[in-house]
């Protein structure tokens, strides 16, 4: 299942939940970074933005009691609820008479199960990858030294590796793009972190390898001065990660 289908599936899930519980008038899901992930068809953008902004204000002042896990407002004509599920937030606007056990079923059982199931079928998780997972983005490359007047300060890497790193793999961006029809902006990798086996590391600018003979050899060309600073030589292996 790709991310576009994920967004469709989540929208359909909200639609079906609404059918099962007619007391739900509006529902949408947004991430902890305030990106709208899915919404039922009757909830307009203006309402969602308004609610998001209100919760942002509340989140700031709620630090006194810790991170908000849920918010419920009861008015004479209805209820509004926000429930945090991992790094997602579900917002429901319901009639005042909606049974609390039904609300609990939706917020604590049905939707978390749907999210977990969908994530099991998606190639990338919705949660931001923990540091060790991000490490899988790194490449182990062999050092080749760059010398001469035009060596500059940038390291050089194969075009294919840079292109693979260019792909915007933030799942929220992809889901949002699927919902809004916006194009995903692919940001080129401009900097990399180089880490030696001895644990020395540095950040530096990166370019494509310009020497045709050296392309496709899984190497990183590093200016001599930088090699000295990192205490590495030609033929050593280093870990390289896009930043």
């Amino acid at each position: 299942m790709n991310r576009d289908l994920y967004a469709i599936a989540l929208n359909n899930a909200l639609k079906e939940i609404k059918k099962a519980y007619p007391e739900i008038h509006h529902s949408f899901i947004f991430s902890n970074e305030s990106n709208i992930i899915a919404a039922d068809t009757e909830t307009d953008q203006e309402t969602m933005t308004y609610i998001l902004e209100s919760f942002e204000t509340l989140k700031e002042d709620s630090k006194a009691i810790g991170n908000i896990k849920s918010f419920q407002l009861v008015g004479k004509n209805g209820k509004i609820m926000l429930v945090n599920i991992d790094d997602m937030n579900l917002v429901l606007k319901t009639s005042k008479n909606m049974d609390n056990t039904h609300i609990y079923s939706v917020t604590n059982i049905i939707l978390p199960t749907i999210l977990k199931t969908l994530e099991a079928f998606t190639p990338t998780h919705l949660q931001p990858a923990p540091p060790e997972q991000k490490e899988t983005n790194h490449k182990e490359l062999e050092v080749d030294t760059l010398s001469g007047f035009f060596a500059g300060d940038s390291v050089q890497i194969d075009t294919e590796i840079l292109t693979a790193w260019n792909i915007n793999d933030d799942p929220r961006e992809r889901v949002r793009a699927a919902l809004t029809g916006e194009k995903i902006v692919q940001e080129p990798v401009e900097n990399v972190k180089i880490e030696t086996l001895d644990g020395n590391s540095t950040l530096c600018k990166v370019k494509e390898i310009d020497d045709q003979k050296l392309k496709g050899k899984n190497i990183i060309r590093i200016p001599e001065k930088l090699c000295k600073n990192l205490e590495i030589n030609k033929g050593d292996l280093v870990k390289v990660q896009p930043m």
Binding site: I51, D61, A64, I65, I68, F71, Q72, L73, K76, K93
Partner: protein
Amino acid sequence: MTKNKNENLQEKLQEIKDKEGIIGYILRDEKSASIDLKDPKKIIEYAMLSSTAFDVGLNISEDLQMGELETILLESEETKLLSMNIDEQRLSLFMEKNVNHEKIYKELT
């Protein structure tokens, strides 16, 4: 608000605040505020949160046509804030998460 009603509410709050898990309360009207919190260092932070919760609640209920605001419940991992309008006063009750807030609400209304 009549004196009797006010006295009655104050009495109830005195009883509630001694219950297990109750952190304290902030009661405000247009002219005055009475605050009783177990940790006085948090008075400012809690007062700001109470005020923001009411502002956000009132704005949402007005703009989304939810009618007159009855209660606001905000929960974090360990703490709950129950806010409500009682007559012409704004009450914010802070409590531990395991406290039955519905029971407290019934006692107050």
